[in-house]
């Protein structure tokens, strides 16, 4: 039984009810997701992946709009600091995430719903782990709205 299936047994919401949107950068995190798939590691079935060229091009408005349209959680995954294909795109993403995390709390949204993290092309295991953990945390929350 996969890690996700184990977690699902003890959770309060069915996976079908949950919507997670993950923006993955083309160069690192998307390759990391590929690696997780290739290694047959568990990934939450409710994860919808959007491949973007760089985490730094994910507009904060897009994250807010994704939440508005009913996503339970949004992930933005980037290259590790210093490893950005465009040198500093992930620092732009980090500054955006820093402000966005504080903004959503002020707007009354549980900050658990937004996740910014780093996944390299080699980190299939980390991709699997953080997405499963994110889904498990979101299942403990009521539907957004």
């Amino acid at each position: 039984m996969s890690e996700c299936a184990v977690q699902r047994d003890s959770c309060c919401r069915e996976p079908a009810e949950l919507k997670i949107v993950a923006f993955l950068c083309n160069w690192c995190s998307y390759a990391g997701a590929d690696k997780a798939g290739g290694s047959a590691l568990p990934v939450p079935p409710e994860l919808s992946v959007v491949r973007v060229m760089c985490s730094g091009r994910v507009e904060p408005t897009l994250v807010l709009e994704t939440l508005r349209q009913g996503a339970d959680g949004v992930m933005v995954l980037a290259c590790h600091p210093g490893d950005c294909h465009y040198k500093e795109g992930n620092f732009r993403a980090l500054c955006r995430a820093e402000l966005l995390e504080r903004l959503v709390v002020q707007l009354g949204v549980d900050p658990v719903r937004f996740c910014f993290d780093y996944v390299s092309a080699a980190e299939g295991e980390k991709f699997s782990r953080i997405t499963c953990e994110f889904a498990a945390r979101l299942r403990q929350l009521p539907p957004i709205g």
Binding site: E59, K87, R96, L103, V104, D110, P111
Partner: protein
């Protein structure tokens, strides 16, 4: 005296009066207003009452400039009444367009707001815990007050409006241009158009401060900044929202060392002021230089560059919280 001039009305809901002052700031051009319009209703300038308005036929007012936010049931009632009486209803000023400063109160519930103001605020002495009531019985009879709404909506979300004219306040020359257009009888822009500002140019485009193409080492608090005159405020770390904000004001605030606070709203018509502001300022600070630093150090240094934005909501939605993309959901976290 009855005239065949088109009728003009201006109303303040929950407003500071600045919008009316901006109209008066047209100076001698206000004579044009008198020449071209029959100014029929404006509680700030004219001794006209609600009953005068009610007596007018529906749709008889050519143009109504509605300013202020919708804080009470009375504001809402006047918005509905003026909608009925007007051919062209303009959400005038940032409060009517997107909530304005009063809409920052949307962060809190009605009970929290009333309790803060009537019980907890420093200097408030209210041992009998008296709150304003919609209905009060006194020996002389009944006294009524309008109900306090749960949240402030933008005018367009309460009644249909023809145009939006943002600004805190809209600039006098822009007001004059709108009045002249309506008076001229020429074809008007499509309903829903945002008047008095640029659809494609940001405040930055109008700002004359020198851009040296430098990234700020970190953002600073506006109140603690002593920016060098003539040099772009953002490049000096002052959180100026000129990049993310519709132009049309002529960049008046940066011209006097004040960062743009975003009163014309986000440049993108489908945009969100918070998202636009965060994107703009996050792109203005320098990325940390590697030099063999560890990941944790780089992350900490990068986060520190935007730490000076202590209140992201108040900074980015100062005039636009009613239009916030996720502003209307139930509160999940206790602040």
């Amino acid at each position: 005296m009855a005239t065949d001039k088109p009728k003009l009305a201006m109303y303040w809901a929950a407003a500071c009066g600045g919008c009316e002052i901006s109209l008066a700031n047209m100076h001698e051009a206000i004579l044009e207003l008198d020449r071209d319009f029959d100014f029929v209703f404006c509680p700030c300038f004219l001794d006209t009452k609600k009953k005068d308005l009610e007596a007018m036929p529906d749709g008889s007012i050519r143009l109504t400039l509605f300013n202020g936010s919708l804080r009470t049931e009375e504001n809402l009632e006047m918005a509905r009444l003026l909608r009925k009486k007007s051919q062209l209803l303009v959400a005038f000023g940032s409060c009517a367009v997107s909530g304005g400063v009063p809409a920052l109160a949307n962060q809190r519930s009605r009970d929290e707001l009333l309790s803060r103001v009537y019980l907890e605020a420093p200097g408030t002495v209210n041992p009998d815990r008296l709150f304003p009531r919609v209905l009060s019985q006194v020996p002389e009879g009944e006294l009524t007050l309008p109900e306090f709404l749960d949240r402030i909506p933008s005018l367009k979300d309460a009644v249909p409006v023809e145009y939006l004219m943002p600004g805190c306040p809209p600039e006098p020359e822009r007001i004059l241009a709108v009045l002249r257009l309506v008076a001229s009888g020429e074809a008007l822009p499509d309903p829903g158009t945002v008047l008095g500002c640029s659809a494609t140019r940001a405040v930055c485009d109008e700002c004359t401060r020198e851009k040296r193409d430098q990234a700020a080492p970190a953002l600073v608090r506006s109140s603690e900044a002593l920016p060098e005159p003539g040099w772009c405020l953002v490049e000096q770390g002052v959180p100026c929202l000129g990049m993310a904000t519709k132009g049309g004001c002529g960049a008046l605030c940066p011209a006097v060392q004040m960062p743009c606070s975003g009163c014309y709203g986000p440049l993108d018509p489908d945009g969100d002021a918070g998202g636009a502001g965060i994107a703009a300022l996050s792109g203005a600070v320098a990325a940390p230089v590697d030099h063999g630093a560890g990941e944790a150090q780089l992350v900490a240094r990068s986060r520190a560059t935007v730490a000076a934005v202590a209140d992201p909501l108040g900074t980015f939605y100062r005039y636009t919280l009613s239009d916030c993309l996720i502003g209307e959901r139930d509160q999940e976290v206790v602040k």
